[in-house]
Amino acid sequence: MVLETEKKQKKYKVIGTRPIRPDGLDKVTGRARFGADIDLPGMLHGAILRSPHAHAHIVRIDTSKAAALPGVKAVVTNADFPHVPAEELSLGEGAVNLVHLRQNVLAEDKVLYHGHAVAAVAATSAHIATEALRLIDVTYELLEPVLDVRDAMKQGSPILHADLRTRDMGKDGDIPSNIASHLHFELGDADHAFGEADVVIEREFTTRMVHQGYIEPHNATVSWDEDDHLTIWMSTQGAFNVRDQMARLLRLPVHNVRVVPMEIGGGFGGKISVYLPPVGAILSHKTGRPVKLVMNRTEVLEATGPTSGSYIKLKMGATKDGRLIAARGELAYEAGAFPGSPVGAGCMTMLGPYDIANATIDGYDVVVNKPRVAAYRAPGAPISAFACESVVDELAEQLGIDPLQFRLQNASKEGTRQLRGTTFPPIGNVAMIKAALASDHYNAPLEGPNRGRGVANGFWFNAGMQSSLNASVNGDGTVSLIEGNTDIGGTRASIAMQLAETLGIPMEAVRPTVVDTDSVGYNAVTGGSRITFASGWAAYECGMDIRRLMCARAAAIWDLGEDDVEYVDGVIRARKDAAKKFTFAELAGRINSTGAPIIGNASVSPQTVGGAFALHIADVEVDPETGKVQVLRYTAFQDPGTAIHPAYVEGQMQGGASQGIGWALNEEYYYNADGTLANASFLDYRMPTTLDLPMIDAVMVETPNPGHPYGVRGVGEVPIVPPLATIANAVYRATGVRFRDLPISPRRVLKETQGLE
């Protein structure tokens, strides 16, 4: 359902429609080529030996028996990598230290988590490669692991990295620490404001590591040629990022590395950093043959992706009349084995839905003996929103104000100053909350015992970054669009639609193709909710480029000045002579008989991302005897700016909501005391099934982003921000118990409601 806050004239022809996606046919017939579907002549299969321990020195690795197994062609360890300097490498958003990246890909002198890669084999079959792993003899000297963020921050805790110092806005501490960085934000005067508050609530929250849970495991097939050219076929959110990471890690010129992005079976942020390609590269270099590596599910869960477990202490204050005036927060996020948790975004998004003048927030990025975290859909924001939206809910309750009304009267709007110091451009927060207040769901009675309704809001920045693409006009009036962004959720459609809109032609006349890193200009990752925004903007610029070229060509044909020709609704016409006009297809048919081919080019780095808000409503029922929570009804509201392809916007909203519901209820990394991960399978890492979710109603409340030619805001990430607190607030109303530790699993519900440990 699309609700518009401004009466939008029917100004678009393509935007806002729901065409079939260009890559759909291949995906419903099984023809689409994903990374694991690659098969090359002479290809070897790789496998990786992983640490059974959470924290240990590697004393010795004996690969001789494995190397002797018939069919094994190479065995490698970290020592096979060239040395790299300890420099930062930008991953588009955020950065990674090259040494840490290399140590994560294959452990150097220490293993830092259960599942940490230690050695790798290439063999003539995948089965032989895994057999060979059992023949590699590794001697470990065990160290005490530290698994919880609060333990890791304590003095005297086991230290993961002897050289790690706490970084504080560009300045480093002087003693070894597991606290990789400390962030500090201040807005107004929180101390003073708390003195003026009538109601103050302070609570503590914890969350566990959770995984993105993409269905397709990581994969990479690498061919290192004799002339040091490297080709990588893989599943990645950012082919150019992979190219740059590989060039730096392997000390190769960038143009020696070509990355071919295959279809990608989900990423959610977890397929940006590299895991397999560097290993595949050194195996291929050693054997002179292409090497294919595909993770199994256990490897995916043990050694890739999760987002942080956390501890948050949050205090908020409000006046009697229901004004939020002060917040103080302390956020500690687990980074896993290497620095880089999303605590900064957690701090900066937490208060985004509110106009709150005084806040002091501290953030801590903390290493623990668990896998290095990766980005996960609005990284950091769901965790802090869980805390904030729980406290806000409790404040509203204490003040006797309806929880949505309370959110409305404190809602951030254009001009509201945020914690990071910036003010909001036009945003849709208020309109969205009003739509939720007026909705059928919020006004429907919820009857029956053990049921409750919860709401929560969420904010995410969205990202801009670099996009490049080009498009060729074909003789029959069709357009071939070349782009460099992996299409995870329908972006071929949303980009092609913006080009078609700009050109005034049907979407079906545009054929988009995602190409490799040698075949199009630089593109940043498919992430940060940026593709429909930024690559869509590039499509607009590219379309405008084509329009100019088409007008110039028509002017030449008619012997007019370029200014005498205009482009209106897909028709190129002389301004002063109604008889002189071409449809797009007519002029396209004359391109090659009148001059050079017409190719539009665009490269952009837009910044005016607009910001996105989501508000969710959930009804739940709790079985008081078993502690199980069933979601009965769920509605997601969101401001997409302009929904280019509304069906895929709804899909993002529904998908984000369901990931968040899983996070709230049953998903968690379960560690044994020795630091081994106990539930590294889809059997015991409990993502929602069809029976765990209701239909998820998606309501788009459009407030166009003035910073985009078509008003687009990113839509992919923000829908995962509110569900954690939405569910917790609903369970509170069903049980009378506030759940401040996730997940709200049956075990935890029984513990909190019946004292069953």
Partner: protein, 87 residues
């Protein structure tokens, strides 16, 4: 003159000042002017001739993708924040 918000951790360099107004039509010029007023600030923000990897600079509400060449207007607001990642 552009208004620069000084993050709390760097205020020891600005003698406690939360805001500084400095001239400059690019981010580089703004940071140079800041460093002239408050020596040491540039080193905390930049490495070689680039913004440090873990720091983002926001000009008029948007995280700059253009680094030190980012244009700055006389009425611009500039914030210095930790870099963030998106998924």
């Amino acid at each position: 003159m552009a208004a620069v918000w000084i993050p709390p951790q760097l205020r020891y360099l600005t003698r406690g000042a939360e805001r500084a107004t400095v001239p400059g039509d690019t981010l580089r010029a703004v940071i140079d002017a800041l460093d002239a007023a408050y020596p040491g600030l540039r080193d905390r923000l930049c490495e070689a001739d680039e913004i440090r990897g873990h720091i983002s600079i926001v000009v008029d509400g948007d995280v700059t993708q253009r680094g030190l060449t980012q244009p700055v207007r006389p009425d611009s607001e500039v914030q210095i924040i930790p870099a963030i990642a998106g998924g």
